[in-house]
Symmetry: C2
Subunit: 915 residues, 2 copies
C-alpha cells in the first residue's frame, strides 16, 4: 500500500477522528477496524459516514480512573453534527432520525471479545420517525428490539438469556420458527416485553435519551477492554495490555429492511485453499449478529449473484479493488440496504498454511506482490502443517486427553503398548499407534513402523519426540492427563479406558488424543509449494542440512531439500534390535579385550550403516557424531531390576517385563546361571549409575576412557567412504564430530588418536577422499574457549539441546513436566527454550563461540544441530550471527529453508531502513 | 639477593661455565645445583673448583639424536686444564691425580631422580698415586671401590645389588659390621671383585681411561633426564619436560679421609619448627651416599661442635652468611677433608608450613626481609596445615587405604557406621570416627560430634567433604579401595577387616586411613601466626567471609578472622534430627495448606537458628541462602525402597535399614497402616524423582512453585533480626540470597513476593534494620544476563560449585570417581576444577557476570561462596577480577586472608614491573 499523508484532524479534535481524516496506517490510534473504515472512506468506497474515538481516549479514560477525558463528549457532539449534515439525518430527531452503530476496535483483532451496539439512538419516538421515513414499520421495530436487547445486555448488564426467552416465547405463541416471520405488531409487543425485562433487571426505566445511550455505550466499549475474558485472550495471544480500544461510531445502514436488504462477510480468496474466488456468506433481511448467531443458515456468497446481481457485482468490484489496494487477501463485512451495498469492515484475511502459500505464489504471479514479499507472507511456524495429513477440522471428536504436539500431522491406528508388538503388527501391515509411558532407543524398531507415537511423559526434546520428528511420524508426548498402564496394556483418559487394539487418532498439530479413527485431510503439496521453496532457496544464504540417523531419514531429507546431513547419531545404529546382545556384551565387558571383541562384530554392521546413509547423500557433507550416550542408557532401570531380583530370590517367579528384558539381552530363561547373570547385570547397572547422567560419563569422556569405541567407528566411517569411492566412484564428505568437548585437551587426545587412524586407512587404501574432524559445541566452556578448540576442530556444530540444558541448568528429561511448562504459562519465560532458542543466554554463548572460533580459523564451518535448527525464530538468529547452516529433522527442512530466506529478507529490509 | 652482573664466559665457551663465571640467577642455564655452586664460588666460599656443563648442552644432545654437541668435550678439556692449574692436580696423572665428582642438577630439584658419580678418574694407577699423595691407602682404596660401584651402576648399568652382595659377603667373611672396619687390604680384594662383576655383567673390562670415564659419565647424566622415573616425577610435580639437566664437574674432596674428615647436610634453621638454629646431621669418615644409605646412623650437627669445633664454627659462619646472602633459609651440603670445610651445595630449604610462618616472621623482625616479602614466603596452599593436629610424620604406620584429603588434620577414634550411634557415643564423650559409604544431611548430627569422617564414595565437594571442612573435622572421602559394609558394620582394606569399635586414625592432609591410634602432633599456633595474619590483613583489599550453617561454625569463623558470613545453607537447619518428621510432613504435603501447617511449626525453630547465628556475627553481614535442594534429597533412594517394600509384601519382614528409616521418618512399626505409608512414600519418591536432579526442581524454582517455603524463611530471618535489635540492641545485616536464578523473571517473581513480606514485617515492628536481597550466580545464563539481574539484585555471590558443574557439564556427585581423577592424572585437565577455579571457563563467566552486573549497579556487592573461596589460586583470581570478598569454610579463612594479601602484593609487583 502506498504511503499516505496523514491528514490533519478537524481543528480542536483531540480524541476523535472522522473516518476520512484517518488512514490504514493509523491502526495504533484508530484500531484495526477504524483504520480499515478510514482507508475505505479515503479511497471513496461506500462506507456509511462515521468517526472513531481513538485508543488514546480509552487509555486516558483508564488513566483518569474511569472518567471520560475532558471534551470527549463535546467532540463527539461536534462529529455527530458533521455526520448529520452529510446524511441529512438528525440524532435523536423524530423526523429522519440518525441511528448509530457503536463498535469496539483494537489494534489487533480480538474477535468476539469486546462489545458492539447497533441501532443506537432508538426510542419510541425515533423509531416511529424511522418507520415513517423508511415506510417500513416492521424493520423499524425489528431494529428497535435488537437495540434494546444489545444495549440491555452490553451496557446495562442484563442477561442475554432473558431476552432470548421472551423472543422464543413469542415465536412459540405465534407458531412461527424464524424471527422474520414475526409481524410488526408482534415486535411491538416484544419491545414492551424487553423494556419491562430491563426495568425488572436494573430497577430503572430503559434510557430513552439518545445522547445518554451513546455516552453509556462508549463507556461500555472502553470497559470491555478490561473484561477478564479480554485480558486472558490477550495474555494467551501475547497482545500487550496497554493498547486500549478505539470506538467506531457510524451511521446505521439496515440489512433488515426487507428482502432487498441483507448483510454478510466475505474473503477475497478462499482462506482454506487459497483459490482465487470470492468466498463467504450472507443473509437477506438480517443484521450482523444473525450471521453469527446460527439461528438462520447463511448462504454462500455465490448465490448473491442470483438474488442481488448488482450488489454482488459491486461487491466483487470492491473486493478486487481492496485486494489490489491492500495487496493482500481481505476479510470484509458488508450490508445491503435496499439493494445498495455498504462496506462495514476490511482487514487482512486469516488463512490456513496451505492457502497462505498458494495465495502468496498466485499474487506474485499476478504481479500484485514481489517474490520476496510473497516469501514474507507465509508464517514459517505454520509451514510444517502443509506437509502432514490433518485431522479434518470440521469433524466432531471425543478428546481423551492432551499432550505436547511433538511431531506434526495426524495418525490413527490400533493402540499397542510394546515396541515388539508394534514392530510385528506394523510389519504385517497393520496400522498401530505405539503408546508408552516414555520411549528409549530399544523402542526404535517399533517406532519406525508405527503410524504415530503417544507418550505419557517427556517433553519436546524427549526421545519419542526427537525420533518421531526424525522419521516424520506424528507424535503427542507428555500427555500427563492419561493414565498409561503398560503392564495392563491399557490407558485411560477423560473417564474412558482404551485397551490394546482399540483405535485412536493422535493430532500432532494440536496435541490432542482422540477416540476412534477421525477423518483425515491429505496435505496439498501442489507444485506451488515447490515453486515457493525454490524462491526461498534463491534468497537465503544460510545452508540447510538434516538430522538423519537412518537411510530412510536421509532420503526424506533430500526430498525436502536438505543439503547434507548435519547430525547422524550413531548410537541409534548400535541399538538396532538384532545388535542388542552384542551391544550388551560391549557394555558388560570388564576388559578392553572383551570390549574390542564385541566392537569387532559391530564394525562391519556400522560400515554398512554408513554406506546406506552415504548413498543417499552423494556429493553432500555428512556429519557423523561419535558414540555419545552414557552406557547405562541401554540397561534397565536399577529400581526395577532390584525389585525383580528380590522377587526371584524370594519366590522364583519372574514378571513379563523381566522375561522381555531377558529376551532383549539374550539371557535365556533356561540358562542355569540366569540369576547370576541378572545379578551381574544389576552390579553393572549400579556401577554405571550416575546421579546426573547428563553431566556424566558420556560423549568424548567415554571415548577418552574407552578409545576402542571411537576407533571402531572411525574405521567404519572411513572404510565406508573409501569403498564407495573405490567401488562406485561415489563421493561423500564425512565430517567426524567429537561430542561434549569442554577443554581443548579432551579434543586433542581424541583427535590425535583418530586422525592417526584415519590417515593410515586412507594411505593404505590408496583412494583419495576428503574428510574433516570437528566438534559439537554443547557446553558453555567449549564456547568460552572456542578460540583454543578451533586450533584443532575444522568445524563446529552447536548442540543447542545440551547447551540449553547447561546454560539454564534445566534437565531436558525433567524440566518440562516439573516446572518449565508452568514457567511459560506464567510468563516467567517467554517460550520453552528447548523449542525456541534463547537469544540472551544460549544465543549469546553461540555468538561468543562463533566469534572466538572464527578468530582462530576464519574458514571454520559453523552450524547448529539442536532441535532449534527447525524453528523459524532460531533459524533467523543463526542467520544473524553468521552461521553457515542449520540442521533439523527432515520434515522441518522446508520450514528452515523458508525461515532462512525470511531472515535474509528481514535483514535487507532492516539494512535498507537503516540506510 | 642483589642483582649480579652476569660475567662473560671464557672465550670460546659455549657449553660450559666455570663456577666463578656463573651466579645464582642462572638456574635456567646451570641448573639449581650449578647456580648454587657458582654463587658460593663468586662470593668467596670454600667451594672445590669445578665447572658446569649447561642445560643447553643437554638439550642439544637430545636434539642431535643423542650425540654430544660439537666441541663439548674440547671445552670440557679446556676447563679441566683451568682446574688443574688451580688445584695443582692433574686429571689421569699418577702423581697427585685430580679426581672429580660428576653430578646432575636441573633447574628444579628432583631429589634422587638423576645420577651422580664420585671419585671419577680412579684407576689402579691414579689410586696408587692418590694413596701416596694423601698418605692414606685405605681412604684411596675406599674411594676407588665406591667409584667402581657408582660408575658400574650409573654408567654401565650393572645392578646395584651385585656390588652390595659382594660388600656384604666380604664384611661377613671378615666378621665386621661397618664398612669403615674393612682394612685397606680388604678393600683391595673388594676392588678386584667389583671389577670382575663389571666384566661379567658387561662383557668388557672396566674402563680405566679417565677421559673416557668422564665422557661416559656426562652422557649418563644427560640420559638420566629421560628415565621413566624422572619423566613421571616431572609429570607429577608439573615440571616441564623441555628444561634438560646441567652436569656439575667438580674437584673431589674426601670426607672419607679418616676421623678428621666427614660429610653432612644442614638447614640454616630448623625446617620443622622454624627455630633459628643450625639443624642437620653428619658422618665422619664417609662420603655423601653414606648419609642417606642408612647403614650408619648420622649424628646431629650440634655434636660436630665437639668433634670438629673449628669446622663447626666455620660451618655456622657460612650458614649465617648464606642465609643473609640469599635472604632465606638454606639447605646446604658440606664435606670436611682433614678438618677443612668445603661447601658442595646450597639451595632454599624446604620447610613445613609451621616453620615457613615462623621463619618469615622472624626474618622480618631480624630485618632480613620486609613484611610484604614475609607474606609471600609462605605457600598459602600449605597454610591450612598449621591449623590442625598432624599425624606424627616420624611414627611407623599401617595404612589400610587412601582417599581424598578432603578436610585437613588428623583424627582418631572408634569406628562407627551410623550417624545415630556416632551422635549417641560422641555425646557420651567417646571419640568416634564416622564411616559411611557416603553421607547426607541426615548424618549431620553424627558428623557434628565425630572426631573425623571417612567415606567410601564422593569427591572434594561431596556432602561429607563440605560439612567436614565447615565444622573443621578432619575427613578422608572417596576411599574407593576400602570395602565398606554398613549393614555388617565393618570395612576392609589392605586385607584387614575393621569392625565397629576398632580404632583408626585418618589423616586429612594425606588422605591416609591408618590402623590404630597414631601419635598426633598438636598444631603450633604461636603468636607469630596471628602476627603474620595481621600483616596480611593490612595488605589485602579483598574481604574474607565464612560459609557457616551453625552458630558453632560462625564462632570458629570469627576466631579465624572472618568478616561476616558469605553463605548460610538453611536446608541443613531443616534436617536437624528432631525436625525430620515435620520436614517429612512438608515434603509429603499434597496441598499448600498441609505444607503451610508443617512450615508454621518450623518457623519458630528457624528463627532461633538465625538468632544463634546472628549473635556470633553482631555488626557483620550474614548472607542466608533460601531453601535450595531438591525435595527428594531427604528421602530414601527409590531402588532401596522398592526392594524393601517388595520384601515386606512377599515375606512381611523388614530389614534393619528400613526399621531405621521408619524411625527417622516417625512411621511406627506398630502402625497398622505402615505398609500403606511406605507405599505412599514410594509414590512420593517416584513423583519427585528426576533424571538429573542437579538440573531440576530446586533453588528458586521450588520457591516459585511453593512460595510458602521462602515466605516462612524470610519471616524467620527478619523476625530474628528485628527481635535482636529490639530486645538486645544488636545489629546484623541479613542479606537474603535467592538461589539458582537463570532468568531475571524468576528473580522478579520471588523478589516481589519476598520484599513485600519483608517491608511489612519491618513496618509492623517499628524497628529500623538493614537488609538486602540478592542472588547466587551459579548458572551460565545468570552471568550472561547479569546486567538484567542486577536491576533487582543488590548483591551477587558466585556459586562456583554449581557454576563449574554447568560450565563444564560435570556432575559434582559423579565426575571425580567416573573420569575427573583420571583426567587430572593424564594431564587433560591441569587441576580438579572443583578444587581450583578454572579461569578460562568458569572464571571468564565470572568476569562477564561481574562486568555486566556492575554496569547496571556500580555499587553491586560481588563475592564468591563456592568451595573455591578458600583456594589460594582461586582467591587470587577473585582479587584480580575485582570481587569484594571471598567466602569459605571457617578453617580456610586464614588461608584466604593470606592468599588475598599475596594476590594484592603480586599485583603490585606486576604493576611496578610494567611501569
Amino acid at each position: 500500500m502506498a504511503e499516505v499523508q496523514e491528514r490533519e484532524p478537524a481543528t480542536g479534535s483531540r480524541w476523535t477522528r472522522l473516518f476520512e481524516e484517518g488512514s490504514a496506517q493509523m491502526r495504533d490510534l484508530l484500531g484495526g477496524k477504524g483504520a480499515g473504515l478510514a482507508e475505505m472512506s479515503r479511497i471513496g468506497l461506500p462506507v456509511p459516514p462515521g468517526f472513531t474515538i481513538t485508543t488514546e481516549a480509552c487509555l486516558e479514560y483508564f488513566r483518569q480512573e474511569r472518567r471520560f477525558p475532558d471534551r470527549l463528549m463535546d467532540e463527539v457532539r461536534e462529529k455527530l453534527r458533521v455526520i448529520e449534515q452529510r446524511t441529512g439525518k438528525k440524532f435523536g430527531a423524530v423526523k429522519n432520525p440518525l441511528l448509530l452503530s457503536v463498535r469496539s476496535g483494537a489494534k489487533f483483532s480480538m474477535p468476539g471479545m469486546m462489545d458492539t451496539v447497533l441501532n443506537l439512538g432508538s426510542n419510541n419516538a425515533t423509531i416511529e420517525g424511522l418507520a415513517r421515513g423508511t415506510n417500513d414499520t416492521r424493520s423499524a421495530y425489528d431494529s428497535y428490539r435488537r437495540f434494546i436487547q444489545m444495549f440491555g445486555n452490553v451496557v446495562l448488564g442484563v442477561k442475554h438469556e432473558r431476552f432470548e426467552e421472551a423472543l422464543a416465547g413469542l415465536k412459540q405463541a405465534r407458531g412461527v420458527k424464524q424471527d422474520v416471520e414475526l409481524t410488526a405488531q408482534d415486535l411491538q409487543e416484544l419491545i414492551k416485553d424487553y423494556r419491562r425485562i430491563v426495568t425488572e433487571a436494573t430497577g430503572a426505566d430503559f434510557p430513552d435519551d439518545p445522547v445518554k445511550q451513546l455516552e453509556n455505550a462508549v463507556r461500555a466499549v472502553f470497559e470491555s477492554w478490561n473484561t477478564p475474558r479480554a485480558v486472558s485472550y490477550r495474555t494467551y495471544h501475547k497482545i500487550p495490555h496497554d493498547l486500549g480500544t478505539a470506538v467506531n461510531i457510524q451511521t446505521m445502514v439496515f440489512g433488515n429492511m426487507g428482502p432487498t436488504s441483507g448483510t454478510g462477510v466475505a474473503f477475497t480468496r478462499n482462506p482454506a485453499t487459497g483459490e482465487k474466488i470470492l468466498y463467504g456468506e450472507y443473509l437477506l433481511n438480517a443484521q450482523g449478529e444473525d450471521v453469527v448467531a446460527g439461528t438462520r443458515t447463511p448462504r454462500p456468497i455465490a448465490e448473491l449473484a442470483e438474488e442481488q446481481p448488482e450488489a454482488h457485482q459491486e461487491l466483487q468490484r470492491i473486493a478486487d479493488l481492496l485486494e489490489r489496494h491492500y495487496r493482500d487477501v481481505q476479510d470484509i463485512e458488508f450490508t445491503i440496504e435496499r439493494s445498495k451495498l455498504y462496506m462495514l469492515q476490511t482487514r487482512a484475511g486469516k488463512r490456513t498454511a496451505q492457502a497462505a502459500v498458494k495465495i502468496a505464489v498466485d499474487m506474485a504471479h499476478e504481479g500484485v506482490i514481489r517474490q520476496d514479499e510473497a516469501l514474507l507472507r507465509v508464517d514459517a511456524n505454520e509451514f510444517e502443517k502443509i506437509l502432514h495429513r490433518q485431522v479434518d477440522p470440521a469433524a466432531p471428536k471425543t478428546v481423551l486427553g492432551r499432550g505436547l504436539a511433538a511431531s506434526p500431522g495426524a495418525a490413527q491406528g490400533a493402540v499397542v503398548f510394546d515396541a515388539d508388538v508394534a514392530a510385528e503388527r506394523g510389519r504385517a501391515g497393520e496400522k498401530v499407534i505405539l503408546v508408552r509411558t516414555e520411549t528409549n532407543p530399544n523402542d526404535v524398531h517399533g517406532m519406525l513402523v508405527a503410524q504415530g507415537i503417544l507418550t505419557g511423559r517427556g517433553g519436546m526434546t524427549s526421545h519419542a519426540a526427537i525420533v518421531a520428528r526424525g522419521i516424520g511420524a506424528p507424535a503427542v508426548v507428555g500427555a500427563e492427563s492419561l493414565r498409561i498402564d503398560e503392564g495392563a496394556r491399557q490407558f485411560s483418559g477423560d473417564g474412558k479406558t482404551i485397551r490394546e487394539g482399540d483405535v485412536i487418532t493422535i493430532d500432532g498439530n494440536t496435541g490432542e488424543v482422540i477416540l476412534g479413527a477421525m477423518p483425515l485431510v491429505e496435505p496439498r503439496l501442489g507444485g506451488h509449494v515447490e515453486e515457493f521453496l525454490t524462491w526461498a532457496d534463491e534468497v537465503r544464504t544460510l545452508g540447510v542440512r538434516a538430522n538423519a540417523d537412518y537411510p530412510e531419514d536421509a532420503r526424506k531429507a533430500r526430498e525436502f531439500g536438505a543439503e547434507g546431513i548435519g547430525l547422524c547419531r550413531t548410537e541409534y545404529m548400535f541399538t538396532k534390535e538384532e545388535r542388542q546382545p552384542t551391544y550388551l556384551e560391549m557394555i558388560m565387558a570388564e576388559t578392553e579385550q572383551e570390549r574390542r571383541t564385541a566392537l569387532a562384530r559391530l564394525e562391519p554392521l556400522q560400515k554398512e550403516d554408513f554406506k546406506g546413509l552415504f548413498r543417499e547423500m552423494v556429493g553432500w557433507p555428512v556429519i557423523i557424531r561419535l558414540f555419545d550416550p552414557p552406557l547405562h542408557e541401554f540397561l534397565p532401570p536399577l529400581h526395577q531390576l532390584v525389585e525383580e531380583i528380590t522377587r526371584i530370590e524370594l519366590t522364583g517367579k519372574e514378571s513379563d517385563w523381566l522375561a522381555k528384558e531377558r529376551d532383549r539381552l539374550a539371557i535365556p530363561a533356561k540358562d542355569p546361571g540366569r540369576l547370576e547373570r541378572l545379578r551381574a547385570l544389576r552390579r553393572r547397572v549400579q556401577e554405571l549409575q550416575e546421579v546426573n547422567p547428563m553431566l556424566g560419563l558420556r560423549g568424548c569422556r567415554l571415548g577418552i576412557l574407552y578409545p576402542e569405541i571411537n576407533e571402531m567407528q572411525v574405521r567404519a566411517i572411513l572404510l565406508a567412504a573409501i569403498e564407495m569411492k573405490r567401488d562406485d566412484g561415489l563421493d561423500v564428505i564425512p565430517e567426524i564430530m567429537i561430542p561434549l568437548v569442554g577443554h581443548v585437551n579432551e579434543l586433542r587426545v581424541v583427535h590425535e588418536q583418530l586422525s592417526r587412524i584415519a590417515e593410515q586407512l586412507v594411505r593404505e587404501s590408496g583412494v583419495q577422499i576428503k574428510y574433516m574432524f570437528g566438534t559439537m559445541i554443547e557446553l558453555p566452556r567449549a564456547a568460552l574457549v572456542a578460540d583454543q578448540i578451533a586450533e584443532l576442530a575444522e568445524f563446529f556444530s552447536y548442540g543447542t539441546n545440551d547447551l540449553t540444558q547447561t546454560v539454564f541448568g534445566f534437565s531436558r528429561d525433567d524440566a518440562q513436566a516439573k516446572f518449565l511448562t508452568r514457567y511459560v504459562e506464567r510468563g516467567i519465560l517467554p517460550e520453552d527454550p528447548f523449542r525456541v532458542l534463547d537469544r540472551d543466554g544460549v544465543g549469546k554463548m553461540m555468538q561468543i563461540g562463533t566469534e572466538l572460533g572464527k578468530k582462530t580459523r576464519p574458514n571454520l564451518e559453523v552450524g547448529i544441530c539442536g532441535e532449534h535448527g527447525g524453528d523459524p525464530s532460531s533459524v533467523e538468529f543463526c542467520h544473524q550471527i553468521g552461521l553457515d547452516y542449520v540442521s533439523c529433522s527432515a520434515f522441518r527442512v522446508p520450514i528452515a529453508r523458508l525461515a532462512a530466506a525470511q531472515a535474509r529478507l528481514r535483514e535487507s529490509v532492516k539494512v535498507a531502513r537503516d540506510v
